[in-house]
């Protein structure tokens, strides 16, 4: 989950009060964010992915302040109209068709605010922007730009500019190959015949989204007072939301927002648009979900605490909120404003009779029976390796691989359960013998099911001892089956993991239920065991 680092002094100044550390921690948690750490100077907070608007110092402070009751209700932002214009050329339609944009003036940037600006951009890129795929953000000093700006697509060979912190003027291909941002985000332009660029009236390239800004026109410094901001991508509503999060944060930092006109595909839009969206909400719905007895008049103060407005049955949603899809989302915010700690736990009068799965009962009984014989149950992990399942076992089972396992030692699903037990014997080879062990494990094979994979719950039982042999294993199998009122047949089998002539198939009601035998000395050697081992593996469902 993304985290943001907040300057504690700036936050305290913004909310207008100092909170004791305990209270600060508790309030941050009860807002629905997770406090990761707090020091004298810094507060690190984890933000859930549904609240990208909290990924800035300003955005967080605004919401936190309102939640504390200091400045509640829908915050109005003034937008001044400007003459500036962005033209979206039809050539970007198949590459990156949309961009929302705005101008913010009156910024007084210092090191701290530049850090904040970079943090907003970076965090929004990773989260809401889905690593720039969905939204890429560009922020440019206004002074070096000649209006109007055109967003268009050019053939790569036509694009030449000095990328931010890059090595002088380079072609698009060179930038994608050598620039760190090119290497990281170049794949988003892969296979495109033309690349999108923002170009100003002089024809200077401002940036090549979603990769990199220009060094000459796209670098914000302490001297920058006015900026042009654009968010490009594929779905205008997502770009507009992202832009709203940025401009409101900048306005909270003291900037003034100016609207621009966007000419796109024969239409004219005004951006940004900070008008709140309205969503109907009824007190009956709130009470039904939450189990409270709130009154209609409670809605307004509760919604206002979370930064909404409320009028005549409708909530006014701040334009920077990207997570309100349904009135249920309002219900949650009302619950947070009410305070999760203020709910009373209740048990409903819904009478039902509990019912356990047969397989759960069976596994418990099997464990009882085997424990009675002195066997210890083990708890095993499913994910395993080809080495464990096949190589050390001299077996050739068909294994289902995982496509992207982080751990190379655990990158296949088990086809049989005996290797899991052998691994345990191996790990315990320094311990006292005899060892009597068993475990339950799900095994996987290609088969007929919704997923094309069949899963079988297996029981595997093993004895490692000087006197471990087929008879010893068979005695345990017989006892277990007798106690469960089952019967089995034994059929001679061939299996490379076992001593020839000492391995058999177990049949229950003519169904192949598993196998039993003495492990081959070569297999024991592979597991570094100097003790004979006999085992059986059986399909638990056939014992039901």
């Amino acid at each position: 989950m993304p985290t943001i680092t907040l300057n504690r002094k700036v936050l305290e100044a913004a909310i207008g009060k100092k909170l004791a550390e305990d209270q600060l921690k508790e309030r941050i948690s009860m807002l629905g964010t997770d406090l990761e750490s707090v020091t004298k100077d810094e507060i690190i907070v984890e933000i859930f992915p549904n609240r990208p608007d909290l990924l800035s110092d300003s955005g967080f402070a605004r919401t936190f302040k309102s939640f504390l009751g200091a400045e509640t209700g829908l915050k109005e932002y003034k937008i001044t109209k400007s003459k500036h214009k962005l033209i979206i050329d039809p050539s970007v339609k198949d590459v990156r068709p949309w961009s929302a944009c705005a101008i913010v003036t009156g910024l007084k940037l210092d090191d701290e605010k530049i850090r904040e600006l970079i943090q907003i951009q970076e965090k929004l890129h990773i989260t809401f922007g889905r690593n720039r795929k969905k939204v890429a953000i560009g922020i440019y000093p206004l002074e070096s730009i000649q209006m109007p700006i055109t967003f268009k697509a050019l053939a790569p060979q036509q694009i030449k500019f000095h990328a931010l912190e890059g090595k002088g003027v380079q072609s698009a291909a060179e930038i994608l190959e050598t620039h760190p941002a090119g290497k990281a985000y170049g794949h988003l332009l892969e296979g495109k015949a033309r690349y999108p660029v923002f170009v100003d009236a002089k024809g200077s390239i401002l940036s090549m989204p979603p990769v990199i800004n220009s060094h000459d026109t796209g670098k914000v410094t302490e001297k920058t007072k006015e900026v042009f901001i654009e968010c490009s991508g594929f779905d205008y509503s997502a770009q507009a939301k992202c832009l709203n999060m940025i401009v409101t944060a900048l306005a909270d930092m003291g900037g003034s927002i100016h609207a621009m006109e966007i000419e796109a595909y024969g239409k004219k839009l005004v951006s940004p648009d900070l008008r709140p969206e309205e969503m109907p909400i009824t007190i009956a719905y709130v009470n039904k979900i939450l189990g409270l007895a709130l009154k209609e008049s409670d809605l307004k103060p509760l919604l206002e605490r979370m930064g909404y407005g409320y009028e005549k049955g409708k909530a006014k949603i701040p334009a920077y909120r990207a997570d309100i899809l349904h009135p249920i989302d309002l219900v949650e915010d009302i619950a947070i404003a009410y305070g999760f700690e203020n709910f009373t736990e209740e048990l409903p009068a819904v009478a039902t009779i509990g019912k356990e799965q047969g397989i759960s009962i069976l596994k418990r009984k099997i464990s009882e029976i085997l424990a009675g014989l002195g066997f210890l149950e083990c708890a095993t992990l499913h994910l395993t390796s080809k080495e464990t399942q096949n190589e050390k076992m001299l077996a050739k089972e068909h294994l289902i691989p995982l496509l992207n396992a982080v751990n190379q030692e655990y990158n296949v699903l088990p086809a049989w359960a005996v290797p899991a037990l052998m691994d345990i014997f191996h790990r315990n080879r320094q311990h006292e013998y005899p060892q009597h062990l068993f475990t339950f494990l799900t095994t996987f094979a290609k088969g007929q099911s919704e997923t094309g994979i069949t899963e079988v719950q297996k029981l595997v039982v093993g004895i490692a001892d000087e006197k471990a042999d087929y008879t010893k294993a068979k005695q345990v199998l017989d006892y277990l089956l007798r106690m469960l009122g089952k019967d089995c047949a034994i059929e001679k089998a061939a299996h490379p993991s076992f001593i020839p002539g000492r391995v058999a198939k177990i049949l229950i009601g003519n169904k192949d239920a598993g196998l039993i035998g003495e492990l081959h000395p070569k297999v024991l050697e592979n597991w570094q065991l100097i003790m004979p081992v006999s085992v059986f593996e059986i399909d638990v469902n056939l014992l039901l």
Partner: protein, 506 residues
């Protein structure tokens, strides 16, 4: 203690050892003199010491023990002995002598050095290097080498006579012939009481030891006293077979939900993304889907008929009253196979098959996250999930169930704080207060299913309370395990020693 009473109740081992305890002696000396095994002597000494018949002192000492090569050379002869023997019948090329004496190159070099120092061999370089015995060497073929005499001593050696010092030092330099080990030297000395005991005729103070079928059958026990035991002395441990502590805890968790009237479910561990994610309204571009934390499996599964309803909810919200996620829902992406990342998918399946309400189901299943394995992360772990579906249930009831559950798990103080999961709203994190660490520990997520989840699956909007709680952290807390990997280590000693899972209502 009364010395007669003491004499009456001596253990056979004590009785056997006592005659050798007349003066201060060490454990090895006693073992040698009595012909008893070391453990037997030790046990008898402990008991006698408990009875204050002897004083038992221990001293950390270094002792010399035979190494692997030392044991081997005792059988085969030292390399220098073998080399001397090889040359006994006349000079030989060094290589040939080495083969004849079955030496490896290291052994050869060492014994050549030693024997030349003793002036026992001479080497002449002709076509090849020829070794022959000197007069001194010939004498040595008949005589015992001091090293040989030393190795025949009774190891472990605690005291080394001054004359042997240089020999042992030399042998210590050689590869694994002898080595120094730390050892505890036990010394016993009779106390006044012990001396009194020794002055008695112990034979005349006999008592019955074990009660045997023989004694019973013949009635020979009648009129005789039984030896009294030292009832406080330690006895050897025994261990039984048992259920693994994870399974024990799961059985208990299961019993809690059953008591509250829930029906248990189980299902496969491999699922389509449709059931694990799409049916739960997780957007197709959600980071969890691209991120590395899901294990994907090559192959595609089948989509159920209901998939089209789910598609509509994703794309536009359809009849759920939601705006949906927008964009186009990709059926192919939903068919992708994966290991389940949570067991909530079963709850989605229950909704899609529901006929009558109320529904109260739970499941305890392994779920998978593609993470590196370390002390606080497992790539597969248990989740305890469940739902309650009924027109009348509310968020307060959800909190009620969670409170009940955690109370039965032994946690008095729980906290519910707002949290986000794409399929619930309101969503919360359940935390318990750790009294020692003085902090809140996250134990799982819960919430009310979103209408976008419920309506496409169930056909109508009904409150659904849902939760998915982790089990391993609770186990780690109960068993004071700090490294989560230890839960699945299957160390036999640990399994034998681990106590049973038990929570009793107060």
């Amino acid at each position: 203690m009364d010395v007669k009473h003491l004499a009456q109740n001596l253990h056979p081992l004590e009785r056997k050892l006592l005659p050798f305890l007349r003066q201060r002696s060490t454990l090895p000396e006693l073992a040698k003199a009595s012909g008893m095994q070391d453990v037997e002597v030790m046990r008898a000494l402990q008991w006698l010491s408990n009875k204050q018949a002897i004083t038992l002192t221990q001293e950390e000492k270094e002792q010399l023990v035979l190494g692997n090569n030392g044991k081997l050379y005792l059988k085969q002869g030292l390399p220098e002995r073998r080399f001397l023997n090889a040359l006994a019948k006349g000079p030989l090329p060094v290589k040939e002598a080495m083969q004849k004496a079955k030496l490896d190159i290291n052994e050869l070099n060492i014994c050549l050095g030693l024997l030349r120092k003793k002036n026992a061999v001479s080497l002449v370089k002709e076509k090849e290097l020829i070794a022959s015995l000197t007069q001194e060497g010939k004498k040595l073929t008949e005589a015992e080498l001091p090293e040989e005499a030393f190795l025949r001593k009774a190891f472990p050696l605690i005291t080394i006579e001054p004359k042997d010092k240089s020999i042992s030092d030399e042998l210590l330099k050689r590869k694994d012939i002898i080595r120094l080990e730390k050892a505890t030297l036990w010394t016993a000395e009779p106390t006044t009481l012990g001396k009194d005991l020794l002055s008695l005729n112990l034979e005349s103070f006999s008592a019955l030891d074990r009660l045997t079928p023989d004694l019973l059958q013949a009635g020979k026990w009648k009129g005789k006293a039984f030896r009294e035991y030292d009832l406080t002395s330690k006895v050897p441990s025994v261990y039984g077979g048992k259920r693994h502590f994870v399974s024990q805890a799961i059985d208990y968790v299961r019993s809690i939900w059953l008591e509250m009237g829930f029906t248990e479910l189980t299902g496969p561990l491999v699922q389509t993304a449709f059931w694990d994610l799409d049916a739960l309204f997780v957007p197709q571009d959600h980071p969890a889907r691209q991120m590395q934390d899901t294990f994907f499996i090559d192959g595609k599964g089948k989509l159920p008929k209901i998939a089209d309803e789910v598609r509509k909810a994703h794309e536009s919200g359809h009849s759920t009253g939601s705006k949906g996620w927008g964009g186009k829902w990709d059926a192919e992406a939903a068919k992708q196979l994966m290991l389940i990342t949570h067991d909530t998918y079963l709850s989605a399946q229950v909704l899609s098959q529901a006929k009558t309400l109320p529904i109260k189901t739970f499941q305890i299943m392994k779920v998978f996250r593609n993470e590196a394995l370390d002390w606080k992360h497992l790539f597969e772990f248990y989740q305890v999930g469940g739902i309650v579906v009924d027109e009348s249930v509310t968020f307060c009831h959800l909190l009620g169930y969670l409170k009940q559950f955690f109370q039965k798990m032994g946690f008095e103080k729980i906290r519910i704080r707002p949290a986000h999961f794409p399929y619930v709203e309101p969503g919360c994190e359940v935390e318990v207060f750790h009294p020692e660490k003085k902090q809140w520990i996250e134990l799982g997520g819960a919430g009310v299913f979103r209408p976008e989840v419920v309506k496409p699956l169930l056909g109508k909007e009904v409150p659904v309370l849902a939760w998915g709680l982790g089990l391993e952290r609770i186990l780690a807390d109960y068993y004071k395990i700090t490294d989560l990997r230890d839960i699945y280590r299957n160390d036999i000693r640990q399994l034998k020693e681990t106590r049973y899972w038990m929570r009793c209502p107060r």
